[in-house]
């Protein structure tokens, strides 16, 4: 492993200043490290410092009415153990459970998932369908950006030099579901994953697909095929067909293009059915 120094600032200001020091590419940001540490072995000679966020006050989880705000360095396991997360954001709960195994989730974070923007991240599709907002702090203050705009591609985000992810906000609880296909249930990477959520406020579905490079994407054509919280079989078939035909699907060592195309349709139908059942159940509970 290349040699680097580990910097552990205790204030946000110091962290931002540290990021702005030295040449671009000289510093890497460390949250839980479950993705970054693996890559450090292959880091280029430019890497001189690793900036650890562990002393920043961002291991938080707050409910403010319907709005859930998750600090960027909260371990995923803490999010998973919050009973309200499982109840009010079932798709998010399923997606978290799909990340690694328990020991990995004790360190992995939401901020790390977003900042590293891995093409196969299990969290990004569900963040898309929940309209999650990324709260960013930097040299010129704070800004918020939707996950869709935050992600530029594989391993690329809109984070500018000196910026850090402070938290992620989920505007409203939504009946949601997250389903994946992969070789091993734990500690593996999804070949295809589909997230579905129904918004009770605007009465529209959100659908997203992940596991396919370069990044997780929404499926607007398929969304438009669904008209109610309880879509008909015809609507589901049409949504699945839109998704499989309009999506650009890459093959890699994890799955062929053909297999992925098949999976998108199957998982989409199942995810919508599952979220729809939760929607009806929620309707009975909170009329």
């Amino acid at each position: 492993m290349p040699s680097f120094s580990l910097v552990t600032p205790t204030t946000v200001e110091a962290a931002i200043a540290e990021l702005r020091t030295g040449a671009p590419g000289e510093v890497a940001v460390l949250a839980g490290g479950t993705d970054l540490v693996f890559d450090l072995d292959r880091a280029g000679p430019n890497l001189r410092r690793v900036l650890s966020l562990r002393c920043l006050p961002w291991r938080t989880l707050d409910w403010n009415g319907p709005v859930l705000t998750v600090g960027s360095t909260l371990p995923l396991r803490s999010l998973e153990e919050d009973p309200d997360v499982a109840r009010r954001h079932p798709g998010l709960f399923q997606a978290i459970r799909a990340v690694g195994g328990v020991p990995l989730r004790h360190r992995a974070t939401l901020g790390g998932n977003l900042g590293r923007a891995a093409p196969a991240s299990d969290l990004l599709p569900v963040l898309l369908v929940l309209d999650a907002e990324v709260d960013v702090v930097g040299p010129s203050g704070s800004r918020s950006v939707s996950v869709d705009q935050f992600l530029l591609g594989s391993r690329r985000t809109t984070l500018a030099r000196g910026e850090l992810i402070r938290s992620v906000r989920f505007p409203e609880p939504r009946p949601s579901a997250y389903l994946w296909q992969r070789v091993r249930p734990a500690n593996d990477i999804s070949q295809v994953a589909v997230a579905a959520a129904f918004s009770p406020s605007d009465r529209h579905w959100r659908l997203a697909v992940g596991g396919i490079p370069p990044r997780a994407v929404r499926l607007p054509e398929a969304e438009r095929a669904l008209s109610s919280p309880d879509p008909t079989r015809e609507e589901l078939g049409s949504a699945a067909e839109h998704a499989t035909h309009h999506l650009s699907i890459a093959a890699d060592r994890r799955a062929s293009e053909e297999y992925r195309r098949h999976l998108v349709g199957v998982l989409l139908e199942r995810a919508v059915r599952s979220a729809s059942a939760r929607s009806l159940e929620a309707g009975r509970l909170d009329p």
């Binding site: 492993m1 290349p2 040699s3 680097f4 120094s5 580990l6 552990t8 460390l30 490290g33 479950t34 540490v37 693996f38 450090l40 690793v50 650890s52 562990r54 690694g100 195994g101 328990v102 020991p103 990995l104 004790h106 360190r107 091993r184 249930p185 734990a186 500690n187 593996d188």
Partner: protein
């Protein structure tokens, strides 16, 4: 690069360490500086669970953790399980169920299971525990006997 001193409490004993590079992984510190070879290196990429240790009682993949990130923590490895009441019971259950063949994955399984029992309490269901052990790989295909060990433990432990 400057290397700050590092202090870990390892299996109940304070172990100050000097000269640990800030880029060193906890797995390497445990095996090569502390000489505790019970913690195994499998994939070194977070896929197999062989390197699992407890950091302040919480199961952690030591291959994906920088040692200086856990400075000041209390570390428990497989060598510390004999002195841990739950750890001892888990080891006994593994031994009685014959839940090992080559044994390479066993320390990781034992530590991960002890971590789960710490978190969930002894009343956790066998299914729940097995699902949450999904991050540990056994390449001798010994999962059935490991499942028997968990069942044995939960039947007698409650």
């Amino acid at each position: 690069m400057t290397n700050r001193p590092l202090s870990l409490t390892v299996n109940g004993k304070v172990r100050p360490l000097d000269g640990v590079p800030e880029s060193e992984r906890l797995l390497d510190t445990i095996r090569w500086r502390l000489g505790l070879r019970g913690t195994k290196e499998g994939c070194r990429s977070g896929e197999c669970g062989a390197c699992t240790v407890l950091v302040d009682g919480v199961s952690t993949l030591s291959c994906l953790t920088l040692s200086h990130e856990v400075d000041g923590s209390s570390l428990t490895t497989i060598e510390g399980m004999a002195d841990d009441p739950v750890g001892h019971e888990v080891e006994e259950a593994f031994a009685r169920a014959g839940a090992l063949q080559c044994g390479y994955c066993t320390p990781g399984f034992v530590i991960a299971l002890v971590g789960l029992l710490n978190e969930r309490g002894r009343s956790a269901s066998v299914d729940e525990l097995l699902a949450d052990l999904g991050g540990n790989l056994c390449r001798c295909t010994g999962y059935l006997s490991i499942a028997r060990a968990v069942a044995l433990l939960q039947k007698e432990g409650r």
